[in-house]
Structure formats: C-alpha cells, structure tokens
C-alpha cells in the first residue's frame, strides 16, 4: 500500500508553507491581545480572555489530536465496531463539562486559581493533596503526548517514504518539531497555542471534507467498503490474525457492556486532564464557556467521519 505513495514537490511546498504559518502564529501569539506574560495567569490562561468561538476551537483542538486521526480510525480497522465508543464519549463528556467547568471557572476567577491543583489546595487545605493532583495530572499527560509524537512519526514515515535516510530524518524532524513547540509555548503561553489551534482546526476541517469527498471516489462508497471489510475480516480470521473482530456493521452484542463502560469512563475522565481544564479556565466568561462547551459535540462529528475512514480504506 505505502509503496504507491510519493510525496511529490507539491506536497513539500504545501507542507513547508503551512509549517511556516504555524510557527509564525505560535510565536506571534505573544503579541496577540497583549498581556504581561510574566504573570502566570496571562501565560497559562491567556489572561482569561478567550471568547466563546475561540474557546470552542481551543477545547475542540484538544479532541483533534493524534487520537482522532490515528488512534480511533486504526482501532476501528484493527478491532472493529468497538472503536466507535469514541462517539458517545465525545457527546457525554461535554455534558459532564457543562456541569462542572463553569463552576470551576467562577471559583478560579474569584480566587485566582490557575490549575486544578490550586483549587484542591484551597478547598481541602492540603498542600500534599494538591501536589498529588498536580503530579497525577503531569503523569497523565505523558501517554497523551507520547501518542502525539508517535502519530507524528507515522506521518513522517509516509512523507519520507523511499528516501534513503528516512529513519534518521524522522528522528531529527521529531526533535526539531518538539523544540519549536516548546519554544513558542514557553514564549507565548496559551495565546500561541490558541492561534495555532485555530489554524490547525481549519486545516483539519478542510482535510475531513477532502477525505469524505475523495476517499469514496477512489475506494468506492460505504457499501463497497463494508463488504470489502467483511471479506478482509474473514480472510484474516482464517490466518489467525484477527481483524475487525468486534463487529463490522454492528457491534457483537456480547461486547456491548464493554462499549458502554468505555464511553462512560472516558466521558468522566476527559475533563480531569489538565489540558481540558486549562482550556476551560481561559474562557472569557462563565456563560461563554458554557455555550462553547455545549456546542462541542458538533466538533465531534468530524471525529466520527475520520473514524469511519478506518473502514473506508478497506
């Protein structure tokens, strides 16, 4: 499959142009809606001045990560229908967020909290508990970040396919990407991240639309894809390397309780991540946060479409 892909000159021109815009936005963020970046609230939460529309993009951008592009579609392809737990998860997590985040926002604004650990320290009067919450948050982000880096590696592999020093180049590319990212986050804080999030999401919506139009044209529509998937699964099962084992057109009923526990657990968990709380606390007002959180399931529609790519490419 990969041998047919050649990342031609147009690919490289587009890539470098977009990359340039991205880096510019990251560093320009320091000037956007100026604030004293020496103050932690300005750096971490963009001075709590993110309006409803931008908050929607910023928090939505947390959804559109390697998880959406790489993990869910490939899970759908390898394991089958159970991967679609991501869809109920997306809807329900925002109901949870709508209940708790505005309250946290208000308390944080009042008392000057920047992270969940600050809140915990104040409410429970325990530095130890706050430290544990902070450490847990940091550790929880590690696999999340590792997933992003792994996703980037997969993309780089495809981009550099056929080049002699592809492996070494990928390693360098990852290091450089990480250094640039760390640099602009350090200098512009959340402002840089917000601007790049908007840009990134515009690109993502563009690619989703393009994929939804061109993949069926190239590979045939959904009906063709689902029958191809059934054949592939039957073949793989014979070779003792199961594919799409949990169900193709529907989920095997025995797995339904697993499906439900997956989406309930994930829905409750997302807003414990520091980056989700961080996005919420940077909103301009409680009301704006509430409405942008309410509308975030719409963002998830893109995730559902991307997940289905896992089947469409069969």
């Amino acid at each position: 499959m990969a041998s047919n892909i050649v990342f031609g000159i147009e690919g490289w021109v587009i890539f470098w142009t977009l990359f340039g815009v991205f880096v510019f936005l990251g560093f320009y963020g320091a000037r956007w809606r100026r604030g004293n970046l020496g103050e932690l609230g300005e750096w971490a939460l963009a001075g709590r001045r993110i309006g409803a529309f931008l908050a929607w993009f910023l928090i939505g951008a947390d959804l559109y990560t390697a998880y959406t592009f790489v993990a869910v579609p490939s899970l759908l392809y390898s394991e089958g229908a159970i991967a679609f737990f991501a869809v109920p998860y997306v809807s329900l997590t925002f109901a949870v967020a709508m209940l708790f985040m505005p309250m946290l926002w208000e308390k944080s604004r009042e008392k000057g909290y920047i992270t969940a650990a600050d809140f915990v320290e104040d409410v429970f009067n325990s530095k130890l508990l706050a430290a544990l919450v902070a450490i847990t948050g940091i550790v929880a982000e590690f696999p999340y970040i590792a997933l992003q880096i792994d996703g980037m590696r997969a993309v780089l592999e495809v981009m550099l396919y056929g080049h002699s020093s592809a492996a070494a180049t990928s390693e360098w590319a990852l290091v450089i990407a990480f250094v640039i990212l760390a640099a602009f986050v350090y200098t512009s804080g959340l402002r840089g991240a917000t601007l790049t999030a908007v840009f990134k999401d515009a690109l993502i919506w563009l690619s989703i639309i393009a994929l939804i139009i061109f993949v069926p044209l190239r590979f045939g529509g959904f009906s063709a894809a689902f029958s191809a998937a059934s054949h592939a699964a039957a073949l793989a099962a014979k070779n003792h390397t199961p594919l799409l084992a949990t169900g193709i057109e529907t989920l095997k009923p025995a797995l339904m309780s697993g499906f439900v526990s997956l989406f309930i657990g994930s829905a409750l968990a997302l807003y414990l991540y520091p980056h989700a709380i961080n996005g919420s606390l940077s909103a301009e007002s409680k009301e704006k946060l509430r409405i942008s959180t309410a509308l975030l399931p719409l963002y998830g529609i893109g995730l559902a479409l991307l997940a289905l790519m896992g089947i469409l490419i069969c």
Binding site: A81, F84, L92, F94, M98, G221, S223, L251, L298
Partner: protein, 72 residues
C-alpha cells in the same frame, strides 16, 4: 462580573436543564435500539450514522440547556 448563585434558577428550570443533559446519555445507553444494520444511510449501517446524528442532537440539546441556564 458578580457571581450569580445557582439558587437564582427555578426548580422547573433546573429540571429542564437536567433532562436536556441526560437525553443523549439515555439514547446512547439504549444500545439494542441502535445495534442494527438497517436502515442504512448512503451504505453506512444504522449503528454508525445514528450515533453520529446524536452528536448533532446533543449539541442542540446542550445549547438549549446552556441558554436556559444563563438566560436573564
């Protein structure tokens, strides 16, 4: 901006908001209703497009809940 206590919301309002937030949960938990293939939409089994449709419906329901919550 001054902090507005939740007590400001009438009981009826609170119940309406709670119901709006719980409807998608109920829909997704009622899995026998959607773990089927027909009716398909553009070749896509019901299992998939129904859940995706509910994302859109959730957005609408939650937006109404947000409006009810913060309306003056």
């Amino acid at each position: 901006m001054d902090p507005e206590p939740v007590r400001r919301l009438s009981l009826g309002r609170k119940v309406a908001i709670a119901i709006l937030l719980l409807i998608p949960l109920a829909a997704y938990m009622a899995y026998p209703t959607y773990n089927v293939v027909k009716p398909t939409l553009g070749g896509l089994p019901f299992f998939y497009w129904y859940q995706t449709l509910w994302l859109f419906i959730s957005g609408v329901l939650f937006a109404i809940a947000a409006y009810l919550w913060d309306k003056r």
